[in-house]
């Protein structure tokens, strides 16, 4: 049942991506409405799947590739749906939805048994750590997608390409403002998640092992990167193409910390599943 629902959900996301790309190339209110409804429908289906997995596991499953990527995709979709009526313009979904669909597609083959949390680590702190971690990944990814839209719009304006994409994407300044706020929010979430992680490490008594963990190192690198970005924006008042390019590069760091590290090296975060791609905050 779970599998069937997940496949249906993925198909719905695929359809939403199709309409989002279509809207980007040929704008239309009706197409945009269909795309939004499909996205909301797809997110709802995956949410049901995750609730079923929570019930099956008896705890929050967040550490298998399927669970990790699904939470990440849901966080991205949710943030987008929340922000859509405010500042996001239609064009962004043309970049976001294919990305989210790709993420879900990658996670689907690994949908096996939900991976729970070992009893010593269960508790409110872990939940805060996990939720804040996913929120940080999602919000920063959204900021990066926004930055990519900025670079596309900048290219269009510089090269005088005044086609449908130029027409659909919002103004540079709008994209810059949204990007700035999302980066700030993501930094806050990641800071809370990191503090939670430190406290969990202290509680578990694992000591120095956590400090040398590749996942912790990658996330720390991402945190420093965010800190530099936030500083550039807040204190140095930096804007424009350069900052947008850094934000896109930041996505690579985030994705590496999120899925790259568990796939490439052994991490202390892989305490639940072995090998087949353990992801988590």
């Amino acid at each position: 049942m779970e599998t069937i629902l997940a496949i249906i959900g993925l198909a719905v996301y695929g359809a939403a991506s199709f309409f989002a790309l279509l809207s980007l190339l040929k704008p239309g209110i009706r197409r945009e409405r269909i795309e939004l409804n499909l996205l909301a429908g797809g997110a709802l289906i995956f949410l049901v799947v995750m609730v079923m997995r929570v019930l099956k596991a008896g705890c929050l499953p967040a550490f298998s590739r399927f669970d990790g990527l699904t939470w990440y995709a849901l966080a991205l979709s949710g943030t987008y749906l929340l922000m859509k009526p405010r500042r996001f313009a239609r064009g962004i979904s043309g970049l976001l939805l294919p990305f989210v669909t790709g993420v879900l597609l990658w996670g689907l083959p690994a949908h096996g048994v939900p991976a729970g949390v070992p009893p010593p680590n269960q508790g409110l702190l872990l939940i805060v750590h996990v939720i804040m971690g996913y929120a940080a990944y999602a919000v920063f990814s959204l900021a990066s997608i926004n930055a990519a839209a900025y670079l596309i719009q900048d290219y269009n304006l510089k090269n005088k390409q005044f086609g449908a994409v130029w027409e659909q994407l919002p103004s540079l300044e709008t994209l810059d403002h949204v990007m700035s706020r999302l980066v700030g929010l993501a930094f806050l979430f990641l800071t809370v998640a990191s503090i939670g992680g430190l406290m969990l490490a202290y509680q578990s008594g694992a000591g120095d092992k956590w400090l040398t963990d590749p996942k912790v190192a990658a996330v720390t690198a991402a945190w420093i990167f965010f800190a530099v970005l936030v500083h550039m924006r807040a204190s140095s008042d930096r804007h424009g193409r350069g900052v947008a390019m850094l934000t896109v590069i930041g996505l690579v760091l985030v994705l590496f910390a999120f899925v790259g590290v568990p796939l490439l090296v052994e991490s202390i975060h892989s305490f639940l599943q072995v090998r087949t791609g353990v992801v988590g905050p």
């Binding site: 719009q153 304006l157 510089k158 130029w166 540079l172 300044e173 930096r238 804007h239 193409r241 350069g242």
Partner: protein
């Protein structure tokens, strides 16, 4: 339907003549009242823009009173009359008038096809007519139908996509770079006419902070005072460049006025905040190398003209589709009109036949020879007489239905009215009766 339009437009008259015929918005209600006093009971809407002055009329035989209407339209306050324009007026009736209105509202009958301002002007014309109390059950729904059709044209075709004037394109570019034009500073370099037009478009979008730099400070001050800006000596150009979000340059200098190096320094001071530079001068004022600087966007008059021309071509491609929607809207209106009118006329024909039959029967049965007939026999005669009348009217009924289907409704309806001696006022009364639901369904009011 008895709707007509009588007007003068860019198709028939030059701008000088159109200016004379135009009526300012503030004077429209009084003009309508004056015409109404000459044609009591008429419905009137007056649309007056820089490209046309048109009077939409219902309830008046415009073919008969064309000259009087034109005279009334051209009469100004204190009975001053604008003479010599009569020959430039055109008249359209009924469905042609409706189609014309739909095309005007949809911006198909426009100097620049697809400019949406006209729809607002048509709406304003209806509002003014409502204020003057000169609209009613014919023109109000006709205009509502026009708005509906115009909306369809604007949303379902590319007729309004992309701007086509240089000044509006400057705004379009600015809106693709900046989030809110109200907080932006515009620098005008050279107080040329084109730059002033572009500035006006930007100010219409809320721009308030304006810096004017001109070789002649006096001329710069003139422009600055007109737009509520600040005039600066030309020598301060480089100092103030970093403050400007949008620069519009249109000097007649034979050399470059804004150097790339100055722009680079300004951009650095702005810490990556974008700058829009619009060069509408020939020869160019802005160093082309400035376009290579990060976060600086430079457009020349050639770029603007190219985009304007592309947008215009796109609009032209959509014209045929837009006309199809206008014709569809007119057909829908005609269909509603004809089906409702046909129903009314057939009912009147039937009623007329029934009355003749009943009167003849009354007279015959009152005579001595038939008065003793039993009731069943009387009923048989009544049924037979009604059948004869129905048989006689069957062919005319079919002919009317065929005429409605073939678009010849108007002529046939007139002939039938003449043949049976139906008076127009009776028809009007019946129509009013038939459209008793006019408040709920405005489209039916016209019918």
């Amino acid at each position: 339907m008895m709707v007509s339009v009588i007007g003068i437009s860019f198709h028939t008259a030059s701008v000088e003549l159109r200016e004379q015929a135009s009526v300012r918005a503030g004077h429209i209600p009084a003009t309508l009242q004056r015409i109404l006093s000459e044609f009591p009971g008429a419905e009137l809407v007056l649309l007056s823009t820089c490209n046309r002055t048109e009077l939409y009329v219902a309830g008046v035989d415009v073919a008969l009173h064309k000259d009087r209407l034109i005279e009334a339209l051209l009469t100004r306050d204190a009975n001053a009359h604008v003479a010599g324009l009569e020959q430039f007026f055109y008249v359209k009736h009924d469905l042609q008038a409706a189609e014309h209105l739909f095309a005007v509202a949809a911006s198909l009958d426009a100097l620049v096809v697809g400019e949406t301002e006209i729809l607002g002007q048509v709406k304003q014309a209806l509002v003014l007519a409502e204020e003057a109390g000169t609209t009613g059950k014919v023109l109000h729904p006709l205009f509502q139908h026009a708005f509906k059709t115009a909306k369809r044209v604007h949303t379902e075709t590319d007729i309004c996509r992309g701007r086509v004037s240089i000044s509006s394109l400057a705004v379009e570019f600015a809106e693709k770079i900046f989030e809110d034009l109200r907080s932006k500073t515009v620098m005008i370099v050279g107080a040329g006419e084109m730059a002033e037009l572009a500035l006006k478009s930007l100010m219409d979008r809320g721009t308030r902070e304006v810096l004017v730099l001109n070789r002649s400070l006096e001329r710069g001050e003139n422009l600055a005072s007109r737009c509520g800006g600040r005039a600066l000596p030309f020598e301060l150009l480089d100092d103030y460049l970093a403050k400007a979000d949008i620069v519009i340059s249109s000097t007649s200098a034979p050399h470059l006025v804004i150097q790339a190096e100055s722009v680079r320094r300004a951009s650095e001071t702005r810490r990556g905040r974008p700058m829009l530079l619009i060069d509408i001068a020939v020869p160019r004022d802005i160093d082309p190398a400035a376009s290579l600087i990060k976060n600086v966007y430079v457009y020349t008059i050639d770029d603007l003209e190219r985009v304007a021309s592309e947008n215009l071509s796109k609009r032209q491609e959509a014209v045929e589709q837009a006309w199809h929607l206008v014709r569809q809207g007119t057909s829908e209106l005609a269909l509603q009109f004809e089906s409702s009118g046909l129903r009314l006329l057939l009912r009147r024909v039937d009623e007329h036949g029934r009355q003749i039959c009943e009167a003849a029967l009354q007279r015959a049965l009152a005579k001595e020879k038939l008065s003793s007939l039993p009731e069943p026999s009387r009923e048989e005669i009544r049924v037979m007489a009604q059948k004869i009348v129905n048989k006689m009217l069957a062919e005319p009924r079919e002919a009317l239905k065929r005429a409605a289907r073939n678009g010849e409704w108007e002529q046939y309806a007139r002939v039938v009215n003449d043949l049976f001696g139906f008076k127009p006022e009776e028809e009007g009364a019946q129509k009013g009766e038939a459209s008793g639901t006019t408040q709920e369904n405005p489209d039916r009011k016209i019918l």
